[in-house]
Amino acid sequence: MAPRIGVVTFPGSLDDRDAQRAVRLVGAEAVPLWHGDHDLHGVDAIILPGGFSYGDYLRAGAIASLSPIMSEVIDAAGAGMPVLGICNGFQMLAEAHLLPGGLIRNDHGNFICRDQRLRVENTSTAWTSAFADGAEITIPLKNGEGGFIASADTIARLEGEGLVAFRYLEVNPNGSMNDIAGLTNPAGNVVGLMPHPEHAVEEGFGPDTSSAMRSGTDGLLLFTSALHSLLARA
């Protein structure tokens, strides 16, 4: 049976259906989860999708991190279940202290949407194992509050322990410290990133490449990684 990957919909989630599509495209089963339930419906992995949950009121991801389902998500993450936070989902993971640091308003003050070059810095996580070491990828980035900050000690620890999962290349689009685009926890099961891999999974609807318009599918490997790690475990 194909692994079941849950995608949590919060009020104000926007890229939930996109994340479900990405899950289906790699051959896993996408399971819609509702923020108000205390029930993970037996899924094998969880995605917290992008969007503006609760209108980003208070701070981006702050209210959603206290949603009913988050207690189950936090428990599952602690027990080793693969959890991916994309954009607003990354913000929730930071607010829930599953990943360190915080995300603040972009340094230039504007929302920015661009095809972003990244380096995969850690290929031993549940969500990056299918990438080659040091792989460089292009996936869409779109956020208003994507500036990663953390204390100097935390940054030193993240760098020292190899917990930076993705790093911006060529352009730092939001003022993130150390060009950090995404993180993993030490166990490698919880990964969060600001750019959107689920928008680069289908030819014709992804970023432009040098060979054809909108043909970029570099995001697929995150979902493939999860599929592989779940199958290996089964």
Partner: protein
């Protein structure tokens, strides 16, 4: 917070209510207690009471008409309703007699795929496979000048609610923006606010922004245009209409609470000009909450899915006044409402304010009593506040009670449908003959290669032809995962069906300069360009929406421009056989007495059976042949070249031949179906030089181009070859192996075609042989620097 306009509206209404009672002098001491209610009973007993109809925007004869309809003076609540619903913005009283042409000039073919036409919240078009698309463009011009951020944000919110009310899931937005001169210091204020507002609202809604237009011209300095377009998709069986039928069915208001924002916005803002001396009207602009709207979208879609609503209407201009009277007019004709049931954000609002409030993110639904519990369960799931206001009746009257007294008792059609209709005086402009005689053909034309090179770069970096990525990079174009084309391609394209690949393309256009020279043909040129922009994507043009932005209808010359533009557009749609499905009129766009250029924004929607067949606007492969379709004439009047290089506007705009446009669209579609076209890009503002530059910049692949044959065949000089804006022209790139087939296609359809160049991967440049060579970096530098220089650097 200072609140002048709102207090003006509120105090007049209070006056109305206050003097109707016993002693207005007791009003202050009785401030904490309830003011007297101007009920129907009181109105009958006090026929001679003075009412502030003029301050509410009604003319004396309109006020008399209301009294004649009611057989008594209106209550203050009724006066509020009539005044907003009879405003230009809501009643189309100056434009109605012209807009009829969009319905009358139609053919069987035009009506065939039109499932819902003009008059509903938005038109609905059958796109096949059981799918339908609904789309509409609307103006939010005046609020966006006063409060650019909220004005633009709520413009998006309003048009999206129109789309939801049809039963559709909104899937894309785009905006048509006109700002003042780019170097005027006030322009940056408006640009930052408007772009920020659109970015904030549409991004939070999770709707991809897939195109649009941005122009700068001093004529819009004191009156920018912010038009917002939205598109939704639905299954045929899911169409919902705004009608209240079935006596006993419940009338439910849900969404955000009703507050004091936007009171009088519709009548006062949209029917007034900006007077430098007048009171500030800032607080009359509505404030948007996109989170509330996003939740409302999902909530409504679930209500539709569960078949829990009989009729639905969004609350926009004129708020509850509009929703109740329109729903009742379109249904069985009767409705009873208890206004006290409206959930308020501000409990001090009086009845007139509640009736007029334009608080955002609200919807009104008609629900059968049996389904009410299920309805309430769905709204509770989404944490959407809801109250049952009343029910549908068979009395033929719209009756509204407030604090136990009847404050409204009207026949709903007299409010919503049978408003005043004006045949305004029309006058041929005194200045237009002189303007048309002042042709750009006599302007000096360069022959020196260096000068032509410099002019190409100047145009490329001019405000109107420069890259708009400073704006579009602030919009999410990826969300939903179905965007097949977006800026900088000519049209936006969205996949509708993930299995079959069925999709739609959409493009909008309006050239105010052409319309100033000749509004009839200017409107047709806008139609022709939007149509061509859809055709170059490989889609088949199918339907039209429009947003007609003009000056004051009380100015007979403006009314002439309007009549010409509507005639031109409706004649054009008839010739192309694509129906106008809906739209919007915005009058009073002027500063002082100077009207804007007539700006009829035309949006064309096309259908493509599989978005995988779509065509990019630039080339990406080596050695493809570049062809120019169409003929180039000396048509420099009104052109970007005349405006930018010579600061000139005069003459007559390019000739538009809609028959040729249809033939060209047919040719492009056939080319797309046979996969012959590697790229296709429309020629319009800036002519061939601009189109070639854009096609090079699209993917950074160069082109070697020669113009001698073109100049010889068409008998034109270099300036004309490069910068003329003749219509019916497109550049396409064709892989060599498909050359014979492609030429056969053009020959078979008798469309003029000329090979003018070849793509070049080794030299990333626009190389016009024997004339000039501009490298990619220089092209991009000129094209991309303009907006950041004025509005601030963004991410590289």
């Amino acid at each position: 917070m200072s609140n002048t306009a709102e207090t003006t509206a509120a105090s007049t209404a209070e006056t109305a209510a206050g003097t109707a009672g016993t002693a207005s002098t007791t009003g202050i001491e009785a401030g904490a207690s309830r003011p007297p209610v101007d009920s129907v009973e009181v109105a009958m007993a006090t026929p001679d009471k003075e009412q502030p109809y003029a301050a509410l925007g009604l003319k004396p004869d309109e006020y008399e008409q209301i009294k004649a309809i009611l057989g008594r003076r209106p209550t203050s609540g009724e006066l509020a309703m009539y005044s907003v619903m009879w405003s230009e913005h809501c009643s189309y009283k100056s434009s109605k007699i012209y807009l009829k042409q969009f319905g009358s000039k139609t053919t069987e073919k035009m009506r065939k795929n039109l499932m819902v036409g003009i008059g509903e919240n938005a038109g609905v078009v059958d796109v096949g496979e059981g799918w339908a698309v609904t789309f509409k463009v609307e103006s939010h011009n005046h609020p966006s000048y006063i409060e650019p951020f909220q004005g633009a944000a709520t413009g998006v919110g309003g048009i999206v609610r129109d789309i939801i009310s049809m039963g559709a899931r909104p899937v894309a937005v785009m905006d048509q923006l006109r700002f003042g001169a780019i170097d005027n210091p006030d322009t940056a204020r408006v640009v930052h606010g408007v772009v920020g507002g659109i970015s904030f609202y549409a991004n939070c809604l999770g709707l991809p922004n897939i195109g649009g237009e941005t122009y700068f011209d001093a004529v819009y300095q004191g009156n920018p245009l912010v038009n917002a377009l939205a598109v939704g998709v639905l299954r045929h069986e899911d169409i919902h209409l705004a009608n209240a039928s079935g006596a006993g069915n419940k009338v439910v208001l849900f969404g955000a609470r009703t507050g004091g924002d936007g009171i009088g916005g519709a009548s006062i803002l949209a029917s007034d000009t900006f007077d430098a001396k007048g009171p500030t009207k800032r607080p009359a602009v509505q404030v948007g909450d996109p989170f509330a709207e996003k939740v409302l979208i999902e909530c409504c879609l679930e209500l539709f899915r569960e078949k829990l609503v009989e009729g639905i209407q969004d609350l926009g201009a004129a708020g509850i006044s509009c929703a109740t009277s329109e729903l009742a007019s379109n249904g069985d004709g009767g409705m009873y409402i208890e206004l006290d049931k409206v959930l308020l954000r501000d409990p001090s609002l009086n009845a007139e304010e509640i009736l007029m409030s334009e608080s955002q993110e609200r919807m009104m639904a008609v629900v059968t009593p049996e389904k009410l519990d299920a309805f309430l369960a769905v709204v509770a799931k989404w944490d959407v506040e809801t109250s049952v206001l009343g029910e549908v009746t068979d009395t033929g009257r719209l009756i509204i009670d407030w604090r136990g007294e009847q404050i409204v008792n009207v026949e709903p059609r007299t409010v919503a449908v049978d408003g005043p209709v004006y045949d305004r005086p029309v006058a041929y402009p005194t200045w237009i003959d002189k303007l048309q005689a002042d042709t750009a053909a006599v302007l000096p034309r360069a022959t020196d290669p260096e000068e032509l090179r410099a002019q190409t770069l100047t145009l490329l970096g001019s405000a109107n032809l420069a890259s708009k990525s400073w704006i579009t990079d602030q919009y999410d174009r990826y969300v939903m995962g179905n965007t097949a084309l977006s800026f900088p391609d000519d049209g936006g394209m969205i996949r509708v069906d993930e299995e079959s690949g069925l999709g739609f393309a959409i493009a909008t256009d309006a050239n105010g300069r052409y319309c100033q020279l000749d509004p009839y043909h200017g409107a047709q040129l806008a139609l022709a360009e939007a149509y061509r922009n859809v055709a170059v994507t490989g889609a088949v043009p199918a339907a039209v929406t429009d947003c007609l932005n003009f000056g004051s209808p009380e100015n007979p010359e403006v009314m002439w421009q309007f009549s010409q533009a509507v005639a031109g557009l409706s004649d054009g749609c008839l010739e192309l056989e694509i129906p106008v499905t809906g739209g919007n009129v915005s009058f009073y766009n002027q500063t002082g007495t100077a009207p804007i250029h007539p700006t009829p924004v035309v949006g064309v929607l096309g259908v493509i059976d599989d978005v995988a067949r779509r065509i990019p606007s630039g080339w990406q492969d080596e050695g493809n042949n570049i062809y120019l379709l169409g003929v180039t004439k000396t048509e420099l009047d009104g052109s970007a070249w005349a405006g930018t290089i010579h600061d000139h506007l005069g003459g007559r705009p390019p000739v538009v031949d809609l028959g040729r446009e249809a033939a060209l669209a047919g040719l492009l579609h056939a080319g797309a179906m046979q996969s012959l076209l590697a790229s296709a890009h429309d020629l319009s503002d800036g002519g061939l030089a601009q189109a070639l530059s854009e096609a090079v910049m699209r993917f950074g692949v160069g082109a070697r181009v020669w113009l001698e044959e073109l100049m010889l065949r068409d008998g034109v000089d270099l300036t004309t070859a490069l910068f003329s804006e003749s219509t019916g022209r497109v550049i396409v790139s064709v892989p060599r192996e498909d050359d014979v087939k492609f030429m056969g296609l053009c020959e078979g359809r008798d469309y003029p075609v000329l090979r003018i160049g070849v793509t070049d991967k080794l030299d990333a440049a626009l190389d016009i042989q024997g004339l000039f060579h501009i490298g990619l970096a220089e092209l991009l530098g000129a094209h991309r620097a303009t907006l950041p220089e004025r509005f601030g650097e963004t991410v590289a």
